[in-house]
Symmetry: D2
Subunit: 333 residues, 4 copies
């Protein structure tokens, strides 16, 4: 069985997804692409051999030959497009976030629950990153005892001018919120946000430091620094009762020159997580054949956004904020 995929939105992320699909994923074909910028859609279609350039998202979703939809259009379109997919009964892999607000995520959740079957996967691709998978496997092996603390570091080279501390939380640190829940298999119960206040330091991309408590009593923290200058760098250390586990990034070579021994950072997240995106896409396509959902669910998408909003509140009020969630529907057990 070959899954015919339609991709909505082929900017940087969507075009990468299209390439991943056609270059690395047997069992799938790229049936259609669409983009608000038609020229871009045609260019990506030409490069990837997509069968059709659709005029708009509805044409993709309503195309009867499209089996599954990947949404990589702007964040504010995610809710409506996902709801439309659900209404059409089509499986969807929606780039994070599931929706810009937790309230809107709940609408998607309600629709999926009403439909009675899991159709939505959210593109929190770190679940498929070999480093995080290895970290989780070591934790589950039990040889290090229980998890006590989790330290996360997430750094980008530079942030757009309009990228403020709220976006640092809801656009970037959500990856750590997601992966911390997944690694620790629990919910975050409170958040407190700290923000350096360096005289004259640009507001865009300025770092935030978040400290969470979990339902298991663990402490989780995240340094999110979108203007870290030196490279794209994601680190994590899980501190357990009998030892710790740290992530390693993919490094293929080391250069010795100019009195230095050097390894290199990528300029953005794509080389770092290329394997994760590839494995996520393969797993998604496979899940459509075997009917077993994988990856982040709509529930995960909702919770991550809800935690991010609690982070916004803590940032604004300068104090610890309790994280309140709706009860978890049985569909997601």
């Amino acid at each position: 069985m070959t899954i015919a995929v339609g991709i909505i939105g082929v900017g940087v992320m969507g075009a990468d997804h299209a390439r991943t699909l056609v270059n690395h994923v047997p069992g799938a074909r790229l049936r259609a692409v669409t983009d608000a910028d038609g020229a871009r859609a045609r260019q990506v279609a030409a490069e990837t051999g997509a069968e059709t350039v659709a005029p708009d998202p509805m044409a993709v979703i309503n195309d009867r030959s499209v089996d599954a939809v990947l949404i990589a259009s702007p964040d504010q379109t995610h809710r409506d497009l996902t709801l439309t997919c659900l209404a059409a009964g089509k499986p969807v892999l929606c780039e994070k976030p599931l929706a810009p607000t937790a309230r809107e995520c709940l609408e998607v959740l309600a629709a999926e629950v009403k439909g009675g079957r899991r159709l939505v996967q959210v593109g929190y691709m770190r679940h498929f990153d070999p480093a995080y998978m290895e970290m989780k496997a070591k934790l589950l092996s039990g040889e290090l005892g229980r998890a006590v603390m989790l330290h996360n570091f997430h750094r980008n080279v530079s942030a757009p001018t309009w990228f403020d501390a709220k976006m640092a939380i809801s656009n970037s640190a959500v990856h750590e919120i997601d992966i911390s829940r997944w690694l620790l298999d629990t919910e975050l119960t409170s958040v407190q946000v700290f923000k350096p206040k360096i005289a004259g330091m640009a507001e865009n991309g300025a770092p935030v430091f978040l400290v969470f408590e979990t339902a298991k009593g663990q402490i989780v923290n995240v340094e999110m620094f979108n203007n870290a200058a030196y490279g794209y760098d994601v680190r994590g250390e899980l501190v357990c009762e009998k030892g710790t586990i740290s992530l390693r990034s993919p490094i293929h070579s080391e250069v010795n020159t100019g009195l230095a021994s050097t390894t290199f950072y990528p300029a953005d997240w794509r080389p770092r997580f290329a394997d994760a995106y590839r494995l996520q896409m393969q797993a998604w396509i496979k899940s459509l054949s075997d009917g077993k959902p994988v990856g982040a669910s709509a529930w995960d998408g909702y919770v991550t956004s809800a935690v991010g909003e609690a982070g916004h509140q803590s940032l604004a009020e300068g104090r610890s904020v309790r994280i309140a969630l709706v009860p978890k529907p049985g569909l997601y057990d």
Copy 2:
């Protein structure tokens, strides 16, 4: 265009190739598998969804729906099967070695030259390993000057009882012979083999140390240790005029426990070179569509075997041996 592939031999290596093909390579289908052990062939077919289990290699090669053949049967069958593929005009990816002796390799070479087009790729997969590719790209960038020396280390956990020093050269160190030629873009001109003589040390898997000179005047050495006990480990350092480049192996996590900081080695070569095998297979399938040969050629297969035989001679005679090659046919320029 979808390439229909037939795989001859589905032991450890061939079964892995089958999985790689069906799990990671779009644009191909696994048309047929065969194996001297019919039960094994049926099992691999069931696991991978191969369309047919062929009774013997000839049935695979002669199957008109098979577009291309992958040979992973025992070494002594490689020559005949490759010659048969050439006679049938079918592209072939032959696991290394191309043939057990340089003389037999020359027969394949002659047949391919006579046919006038490149159909044979030899499975020296390190050409596609991201670490070696990065090393070569750094060299070609010119920023470190010219290559002066190349140090190679190749260690296995343990060797079979019948694995002697000759096999260490012709079965294992051939990978370093191949990759050194590829990295340095030149031929090896002499070889001298050293062998530790430790009282009471088992002969099987005992280390050999090879020192080569190249046509560019460089020194290349290889430590080949098939009984190294501690893990599967391949290292390399390219020493240039202005600096050096070292390989790094894939490492995803680090564990701190028991007064130690630890990263892990795989028990065999497959995890280390999983990416290389995957990328080699994708590149081979793509080369069949676009008609541009990639990877190690039959010429490379011949030279590697010829160098290995010079190594055998040096091992036996305890002195430096000049490496003599036939003139390179224009087909391989």
Copy 3:
């Protein structure tokens, strides 16, 4: 000029100081040792060649041939002994803490200020650790811009049964409080303490996580885990505007065995900071000759204790606590 040193208290730390003095510090002689346990004092004197075993601390301080005093007796004796040294006009290197409470530290401060000259050094030896010195030098070079955040990790193998979260702060994390002030050349202005609450986890040695703000607006955090099990491990990363600097611990070799690549942690702090203790002692002895104070001052000792007490308050009250300090006397500028 040879400095005659008297050491008060030759338990684990004091005996180490005695060995360091006699084995690594020219320009000094070990004139006297004393200890509440006379047998221990005699044993250390025999081992190190100390000239005298004094019956009690007063005998050391009052010995006219003793030029300088090193205090390594129990914490609750530090204030009185230091005050006695000041009264006698004798330079003193007092192990941390300067006194068990900030209030008592202020008594020492007042006495030193009244005397009008710097006689007290506190044994926060990390000021002399080559890794921290290199970190500070890189920061001062300016090439990475200004410091924005500082992450500290301090882990011990196991804690005594009576070692609670308050002690984790005032006995262990004080090293990070001290070194953070020194690295960033500023004061900490607030502290908030987080504590994992893992069901059934032992209270002794349980981790605390401290988040500080500095007068320059930076965020500093400390993971203090006295029961970390895996080894003695101190790490730090200074995040600046254009890059980061991380500490490396002394590692002399790497062992590959049993499918692992391994480096080793010491079981306690002494191997990690052996160089720092040696260089601190050399610098102290040199400072007595040239009259230029080095290392942590009584002011630093006071502030560190005051910050620790604010940490205790935050731990008890579960909220952020402002750190209030007395004005800094001009003697310490």
Copy 4:
């Protein structure tokens, strides 16, 4: 007992020895320095507080208040000065080499044997390097089985114009010859030298690659590259039956900036081996008090030079050369 030391030759190396002695070695005083360049001698004396500037080496050796002599004058003076010290019955730490030729080393050996007691130590300081000591301790622990191979790498930033391949062996690679013998506790029995021949590459500082066999049947190799450009770098890996042990160099910090993670190499050997020089000096002074010789003996100095000369012969003749040694006098057992 305080040892009064006289230093002959205070160029780069001798001046460093003088500083090490006065800054790091209790139990010694710097009684006298001398140098062919009197101004330099006076300058070093002023800096280090040496008690006397002697007019010439004889004045140092004959000074009755000088207990022990450190020779750091040009290589061709080593034999005569050491013989003079032996004649005067004075212990001597002679910088390597003991003498420019093995024949001359034998004269020193004969004189010391005739005197009947060990007075000569040769400054092969790596015996005291913590990394090599840790490597040897791991080997002696037996947990990795017996040593099978030893790989050595020795790289300098740049070589003087007159520094040819012979000097690469007898001035630089002698350190590896020495330390390989010490680590493996055996003699080298043959040597073969390989030399890259890169068109247009400068002769000075050009690399040599040496392969040795040992009396225990092990293979030892040395890459000696005096013009390696990128930094001063010494590496070693000892390959044993059950695993390997690698040296690590002292690294205190890591800098992340400009898309790179960087650690630094020193520009010359002194920072790398500062601990070794310090510990060697402390051990030498201690050995003079307790009468137990430490470090490299005159025998070691002779053998190292003899092996280097065999290397010269192999370099000239392009073949393997057997290493012939005189019988080892009982004094050195």
